[in-house]
């Protein structure tokens, strides 16, 4: 069942006229007529979980905002920079009014009167579309003071980022929005209490907010019946990598992963097998072919030791060496680490160095142990999740493909003519050689 992507390819859907002709902004009227508490209740009972990666209940997050009268903010996180994720781009590019409508409903729920869309700098052309749509919405009276005659006012600003992955982290995004260097903040305080300009702030992903109009339109109950328990609603899945038909697919959560990868996306090219796949963007631990029969929902992915994340599936087939993927991934996170906290800053850098040695054959199997231990030291020790985002997939790759890492080192050593491998136990080697105490190990 398509909700978000319904009519998505209809030309002109990005204009308010076409959007309204499909019943657009009707949910907004309904939502504005609702009491704030009822609206939050509605969102909570829909069990909508955040679509940005963490999967936290959207309604609950909105209910955390203090009820006092003060400046509150709603921020839409459109800094979609996770490798493999491209769902928000299409949503914003082709149906911006769906997002704006959702934003206004969200602002009503959070009683915020100031909202921002923080869009990544590379999506400049999408930001132009959003700007145009915001202008249209403002002209139509959906934005500004006293929307549709209610006491809800909202100003909406589209803010372009400057191309840092870390600014997709909610607190770094807030710092960046405030004009500072985009570094994650210490939590607590959580943005719901102290966010943008120290005010309570609700931050949600584009897809999460785009869902709001549908929840209001259908009613929470009908909407939550989509999908499966704990993973209600539909989800846009970006499938990329070694598949025949990469792209965005809107699915009801809970369908079999195999149906997604082989059914919708056509599976890997002929003659190739799925080697492993990232179920939720590049920061999710990998799963292998044996996990293909799992249902694609939040709980099943977590149960398999990975996560649904932003719903971006990257499929890797057996033509790709795992070391290449690991190196590319680690290099990405090394470059994007903000450098604020130690384990992430040094750990990502160290991991890249080790992977480079593995790739060139200068490493030993012992380095794999060190690398695994470094990943363990990064995991859960960082200020934000960026460190974990590298550590968890790399860990899982070592876990599933250790023999391949070892043979890769071996092959690279021969290819690069690096001579015999250093002994894994240098001390014993000296003793057993018995050719005198000063024999060089190498």
């Amino acid at each position: 069942m398509e909700l978000l992507y319904k009519n998505i390819d209809e030309p002109g859907l990005n204009t308010i006229a076409v959007y309204e002709s499909h019943g657009g902004y009707q949910s907004l009227r309904k939502a504005l007529a609702m009491d704030r508490a009822d609206l939050i209740q509605e969102l909570e009972s829909s069990e909508l979980r955040g679509r940005g990666g963490a999967g936290f209940s959207m309604g609950k997050k909105a209910s955390f905002l203090p009820k006092d009268k003060m400046d509150k903010y709603l921020v839409c996180n459109a800094d979609e920079s996770e490798p493999g994720t491209f769902k928000d781009r299409e949503l914003m590019q082709k149906n911006p009014h769906q997002l704006i409508e959702g934003l206004i409903i969200g602002a009503h729920a959070a009683s915020a009167n100031c909202a921002f869309i923080y869009i990544r700098g590379e999506y400049d052309y999408v930001a132009d579309i959003l700007d145009a749509a915001v202008a249209e919405a403002r002209a139509a009276g959906y934005l500004g003071d006293n929307i549709l005659g209610t006491d809800q006012s909202l100003s909406l600003v589209v803010h372009r980022g400057a191309g840092a992955y870390i600014c997709g982290e909610e607190t770094a995004l807030l710092d960046s929005l405030e004009g500072k260097r985009g570094n994650p903040r210490l939590k607590p305080p959580f943005p719901a209490n102290q966010g943008l300009y120290q005010g309570p702030t609700l931050i949600n992903n584009v897809e999460t907010l785009s869902n709001l109009s549908h929840i209001v339109r259908m009613g929470a109950k009908a909407w939550s019946e989509l999908g499966v328990k704990n993973s209600s609603g539909t989800k846009v899945v970006s499938i990329s990598g070694n598949v025949q038909r990469p792209g965005n697919y809107e699915i009801e959560l809970g369908i079999k992963s195999r149906d997604l990868i082989y059914g919708l996306a056509g599976g890997p090219p002929d003659g190739r097998e799925v080697k492993f796949w990232f179920p939720g963007g590049s920061s999710a631990p990998i799963l292998t072919a044996e996990h293909l029969d799992l249902p694609y929902d939040f709980d099943s992915m977590a149960g398999a030791g990975s996560m649904l994340g932003s719903g971006a599936i990257i499929v890797i087939d057996d033509s790709v060496p795992v070391v290449d993927v690991a190196l590319k991934l680690a290099t990405f996170y090394r470059n994007e680490s903000c450098g604020k906290c130690t384990p992430c800053r040094e750990g990502t850098n160290w991991t890249v160095h080790m992977l480079e040695r593995i790739d060139s054959g200068e490493a030993t199997p012992m380095d794999l142990d060190i690398m695994a231990s470094v990943q363990e030291h990064i995991t859960d020790h960082c200020l934000c999740v960026l460190g974990d985002s590298m550590a968890m997939p790399i860990s899982s790759m070592i876990k599933y493909f250790r023999p391949e890492f070892e043979s890769h080192i071996e092959a690279a050593r021969h290819r690069n003519d690096l001579g015999a491998p250093p002994s894994p136990h240098p001390v014993e080697a000296v003793g057993s050689a018995a050719a005198g105490p000063y024999t060089s190990v190498a």
Partner: protein
Amino acid sequence: MPRPEQKMVTFTLDGREVSAIENSMLVDGAKCVDVEIPVFCYDAKLGQPVGACRMCLVEVEGINKLQTACSTPIREGMVVNTESDRVKESQRAVVEFLLINHPLDCPVCDKGGECPLQDITFGWGGGTSRFIEPKRHFQKPLALSPLIAIDRERCILCYRCVRFSQEVSEDYQLILSERGAHSFVSTFDGHPYVAPFSANIVELCPVGALTSQAYRFRARPWDVEGSGSICTLCPAQCNVTLTVRDERVLRVLGRDHDEVDDGWLCDKGRFAYQAMHVGERITEPLLRDGGELRPVSWERALQSAISGLTKAAGRTGAVVGGETTNEEAFLLQRLMREGLDSPDLDSRPGGALALDLHRALADPALSATVVDIEFAHAVLVLDCEPVDDAPILDLRIRKGVRRKGVKLAVASSRPSSLDANATLSLRFAPGAGEALVAALDAALSGTGDVDGLAASAGADVDQVRELAALLSEAGEDVVVLWGERLAHGPRGDHAVRGLLNVASRLKLASADGAGLLEIPSGANGRGLRESGLLSNAGPGLGEPGREGRDTPAIGAALAAGDLTAVYLMHCDPVRDFQDRGLWNRALSKATTVVAHAGYLTEGLIEHATVIFPAEAYAEKEGTFTHPDGRIQRLRPAISHARGVRPEWQVLATICKAAGLEMTFHTVPMVFRALVDAVPFYADLTLDEIGGRGMRWQQTAAAANLPTASDRAPYQLTAPPAALTPNGSLRLGTYRSIWAGSEVAVSPALKFLIPHQQVELSPDDAKRIGVGHGDRVEVTYDGAAVNAQVTLRAAVPTGTVFLAEATDSQPANLLTNGEPRLVEVRPA
């Protein structure tokens, strides 16, 4: 905001019951039971923790992930484990991560031996590293500023220095460039980090990345000894530890005292120690012989001074600068009053203030402490520039505004560096402080002609009303930080009456955290007054036997020949006081000019008859009184430079020669005599003062303060109207933090020596036809100052500002302490 109530809670730490302050951070709470949790990025002085270094991870029961102890507030019943295997592994991991890019050049590094990274690696690290790749490299060492060297390879990116620059001193100069493992600390565009408090980052740095250029490679921690004392270069009197090697001071470090300096130091206090060991310092008595000052023996110098002074008995004046201790002041006032029968002595450069007003201002109920600034509802900075006058208070105000929500109002003539933090900034004409407080008084009381008075002050009447509203509505705790400048000049009495009226309208006396805090002109200004160095008051603000002349009157009397000798204690009137012309005449007319000085300044070179070398503050013993009434001890850290004698002994010798009975053998004996003479110091003993000082207001003897006969509100007389520029410009002056001999002779600080500059508003500059950097001549009645123009948009139109005590072309060529209009024209 008033101080929050502190509630004690009990939590469990490593199986022990610990009671600590609720909501204080775990790191601090653990110290209560001597459990050290290692930290790098956390320092309570820096404010909100950032949790960046991840060194302090601990296990908190009920929370799955390890938590940073620096940012986890203590709650009742919390169970914390700092010694589990998980915690230890994470600590080893973080140390290993930190050492990945840290060069192991400890033998070369200045921090070696006192390095938190060394200590924590030793205490919590794994002992080995598994990192075999090449480390990160930077060019090193680089000069971050002429005072600070930066070694980026050693940096562990803990953010302390950047946070200091951004959130404590608020100069916003230090930043992190690049990101991830490539990030490094720098300034925008690589310009030098020059700011009044810059070198605090050297002390903050937990590794040897930021080192002091002046201390670079001078000594290792085991070569040196630390000696606690106080800095006497300004009224803030920060507590310091002097690092001493081979009888030389090599470094000055802060000695954290929350109630005085909050652990920070200004760069002047941190580097001016160099002035103790330079060739320019006077280390032997000098005597004018054949028109030239020549080194002579102590006996001869003392003999000349004694004969000169006793010959002029009854016709001698004494003028005292700020660096004199209470003991020296006490001896000097005895010498003058009892030995030489001369009541003409003063420590206030701007002239006398009625004794009654001195007593009213000293009222313990009215006096605010330094900490009160931080916790006040509102602070009014009145006619002073904290960063120049008492730098460390500037940081305290910023802390209050940033972290405690203090509402700040600034009322000054010259644009203040605190304007950006202020809720309200008000400008008035230079020297029109009296009219301003009168206007404020009228606005607060609701009676009187606010419009007229504001016009007299050259201030905007709406702003005066806003200020009154701000102060009266902010809350009961209002602190007025005012500069002695307000009470200068012949109408000083009236200004202080106005100020006391404002204080009474705001009921400052009845609230605990409210009051007045004066920044005196001299470092020990308050102590000197209370020790009896006032023309109209004896020790303890008591009645003087006979009222004498104040500073300007002494100058005039010398020039007129009514006085023939003058004792200059730590001051050079030609350089430091208003009306340079008068003082030049006065000193050249005087037959005997006895001076205590550390360095030869222009007035002394020209006019002094005898100069006794002054002790450096590291050599000195005695007590100082902080502007908030805290008596602090000055303790000798090094022995006297060869040829320098303790100044109290010099004074005692002269006293003896003048026929006084002197039974003092040590400084504490003089202190005892001082305490006996000052009734409200009666409860103080040197033991109790100790290393942290003691406020006399908190002792029972404070009740012995002589009470003022007349109390606020006073009936004010109409202040004179501010001069109307009318084509010419109002002249305002200021004294930079960097003015002074100590800065001029310290090699490290020489680059900061202030040069005269003419601060003009763009409008006036346009009218006069000059631009930024052009040379202009500022003239008054034939006298002229010739300097370059600095355009400042914040300077009010119609006013020009000149610096005092610059090396050349000082402002006192044109001033005499009263408001003046000057002409500015292109030179």
